[in-house]
């Protein structure tokens, strides 16, 4: 487990160094590195989630979250091809369909996790509830202002404005999802599944902060101005956190399967 954790940390560290040292973070080598890591993380998550099968209630939640991550990775690839090879910086494009599609998929997944956990709010520590709701209110204000109100551009066409506002709405959904993952983690206190959901919450929170920063500093980000270009590292952190959580969870379930198969063999 420690080795796995260090691998993910090393990947993030090496990527961060590459970003810091690169004269241009929108250049092909850096963006290719970003793609490799984000797609790799999404595939790891998808592979790890398969151990459950879709018939398991807990499994459905985890598979749907992994699927959402894969959809985002597809969006990243499309954006990479359009920007890096076709010089297309238009908004919106087909990329946005995939980015926006991930939010309802994650929504279904986390809702499934929430209903499976049968969260009882009376059991959640009041201090945790207060912290989470306070953070949610602050984030809601930030998203509503930067992601929805400021997203409206009177010079852009209707479609561009609709898509831009939908991203803000997607981030409002992400706030709710992050809140639900923390409540689910609380329900499984003391168990490995609690660690899984806490890491998920951290991953979604990092995605959310990256999205807010992107909404605030989109022009500077697209102009490749440091440190705004480092918002990419936050998205990458989110990918890596979710992949790490999936892999740790997979390792545990795999171990459980291995142990019971061994007991069966010893019996024969």
């Amino acid at each position: 487990m420690i080795i796995r954790r260090y691998i993910f940390l090393v990947i993030l560290l090496v990527t961060s160094i590459a970003y810091f040292l690169s004269p241009s973070d929108r250049a092909l080598p850096i963006q290719t590195l970003y793609q490799v890591i984000s797609i790799g993380a999404a595939l790891v998550a998808l592979y790890a989630s398969r151990i459950y099968g879709f018939k398991s209630a807990n499994g459905r939640a985890i598979i749907l979250i992994a699927a959402g991550l894969v959809v985002w990775a597809i969006a990243e690839i499309v954006w990479y091809v359009l920007q890096s090879f076709m010089g297309n910086n238009d908004f919106p494009t087909v990329t946005d369909i995939f980015f926006l599609l991930a939010y309802p998929i994650w929504g279904f997944g986390i809702y499934q996790g929430f209903t499976t956990a049968e969260v009882k709010l009376v059991r959640v520590r009041k201090s945790l509830l207060t912290l989470v709701f306070s953070a949610s209110i602050i984030l809601t204000i930030l998203v509503s202002y930067f992601g929805i109100y400021q997203a409206y551009d009177p010079n852009a066409d209707l479609l561009a404005n609709i898509v831009a506002i939908f991203y803000g709405l997607g981030d409002l959904v992400l706030i709710i999802l992050s809140l639900l993952t923390i409540l689910v983690a609380s329900e499984y206190r003391g168990g490995k599944l609690a660690s899984f959901w806490k890491t998920m919450a951290a991953g979604f929170f990092v995605f959310l902060v990256a999205d807010i920063l992107f909404a605030m500093y989109r022009d500077q980000f697209m102009a490749d101005i440091k440190p705004y270009a480092y918002i990419d590292l936050m998205w990458l952190s989110g990918y890596l956190l979710i992949a790490y959580a999936m892999l740790e969870n997979y390792a545990h379930v795999y171990l459980v399967q291995k142990q019971i198969r061994l007991k069966l063999q010893q019996r024969r």
Binding site: Y52, S56, L193, I260, L264
Partner: protein, 69 residues
């Protein structure tokens, strides 16, 4: 179906809920020659580790409700 079979089925369903069908199938084979108390102990053990002691006890209680063991 006798009470022991019902318990085994309920235990396998509970394992499937959290660990998936593949794990549940292996436990189904394992439980065939196990006593009721051994089944409950086994499920409690893997669940406590995975979903926490409090949640595991809740799930076990629901699993054994209505069964005469």
């Amino acid at each position: 179906m006798n009470e022991s079979s019902k318990l085994q089925q309920a235990a396998v369903e509970l394992i499937s809920k959290y660990f998936g069908q593949n794990t549940a199938k292996v436990y189904d084979k394992f439980f065939v020659d196990e006593s009721d108390s051994a089944i409950v102990v086994s499920v409690n053990s893997i669940l406590s580790d995975y979903i926490g002691k409090t949640k595991a006890e809740e799930e076990i209680k629901k699993m054994t409700e209505g069964l005469t063991l």
